[in-house]
Symmetry: C2
Subunit: 222 residues, 2 copies
């Protein structure tokens, strides 16, 4: 993610660095894993250790949003999961629209991780008349021209753009005009959006760059 | 990215926080954009402004790796691009293998952003006999059993896992045994790897969570 230039606010009114919000997602994953493993409580040092952060880092990150520990117990896993989901906004229902049902769009429609975190893709859009009227994993594919109507009916606030680069800005404009408040953009272009709309740009080459850095710097330091 | 627990080292021997390395990728994108727009020099304040960081942050991040500015000029864009690519390790040729040619693997094979940053996917692997022997965007699809041989012949050091969750660990083990040093994992599972192998786990739901946080906190503060 790299495009949302505005820091967001904690309940205290304090600005929350984006890195803190990223770490909340990681804490959430580890907590969900602990619960699956049958563990009821955890500590900042255990959470930190699982992720390679210090316990002080974990406490400081959570302190932006309140006090979540219990003396002599630490964190109750299920309680902290609920709290983090409330902070991230994933305790509510987020119907999501996806535009583009090529290979990437189809892969995203089949991606189980979204549903696990409360995101429900309810509508897909395409320009290909051969696809419109069909469905992928149960999600109906609509003609892009029906986007305003479907977004309104289904109260869709988040959109995913999975179209080729040259088509992305036009799709973004349609999503914004329809009332979508946040966009995840997989197309390799920078979108121009009103400041009232949040965007996350996914640049998959960044993951490979971070990996090559890890491999190279390991080689040089080892 | 969320799984590589080890901080990497700067040439000075100082540990480089992962967030700094992530920002290097963002600086690189902006510099490449400036060059495409015909701009020859830039400054830490311009770079920072384009990304929503302070100029002090930009200078501090780059200072981990050396001195790149010129008095009275600022940064020469092409010089800084070369420097950042050298730091990230993307100034060299990285032949990459991808395992899994379903929708996600096919989408990744067609993703132009990799090539722009110096990553060349040279081999794809699958278990599906109907796909083996074919190719996608010119990349040959091999039987997974030929992975050790092809990785060795093509000097592949980086692998991308795009198989279903239950198959991911087995694929990772094969990549490691073949000598791959870094893995980007798109499967929604945590891989157990030797500490000598770097990994980046891509959890696409995190992007949506960061977006929902941005939308929710904007709504509450606005």
């Amino acid at each position: 993610m790299n495009d949302d230039k505005n820091k967001s606010m904690a309940p205290s009114g304090e600005a929350v660095p984006k890195a803190v919000v990223s770490r909340l997602s990681l804490y959430l994953r580890e907590l969900q894993r602990l619960i699956r493993d049958g563990q009821e409580t955890t500590s900042s040092s255990q959470l930190g250790q699982m992720l390679g952060f210090s316990d002080a880092q974990v406490r400081k990150d959570l302190a932006y949003f309140g006090h979540f520990g219990h003396p002599g117990i630490g964190y109750r896993c299920d309680e902290l999961v609920q709290a983090v989901r409330r902070i991230l906004g994933t305790d509510r229902d987020w119907p999501v629209a996806i535009v583009g049902t090529g290979n990437l769009g189809t892969a995203l429609l089949g991606y189980k991780g979204f549903g696990h975190q409360g995101f429900r893709i309810v509508a897909a859009f395409d320009v290909d008349a051969g696809k419109v009227g069909g469905s992928i994993v149960g999600v109906p594919i609509y003609d892009i021209e029906r986007l305003p109507e479907v977004v309104d009916q289904q109260r869709i606030k988040l959109g995913i753009i999975a179209v080729p680069g040259p088509a992305a800005q036009g799709v973004a404009d349609k999503l914004v005009a329809a009332g979508v408040e946040g966009i995840v953009n997989f197309a390799p272009v920078t979108l121009v959006l009103p400041t009232s709309v949040s965007q996350i740009g996914v640049d998959l080459a960044i993951e490979l760059e971070q990996l090559s850095f890890a491999v190279v710097s390991r080689g040089e330091s080892g």
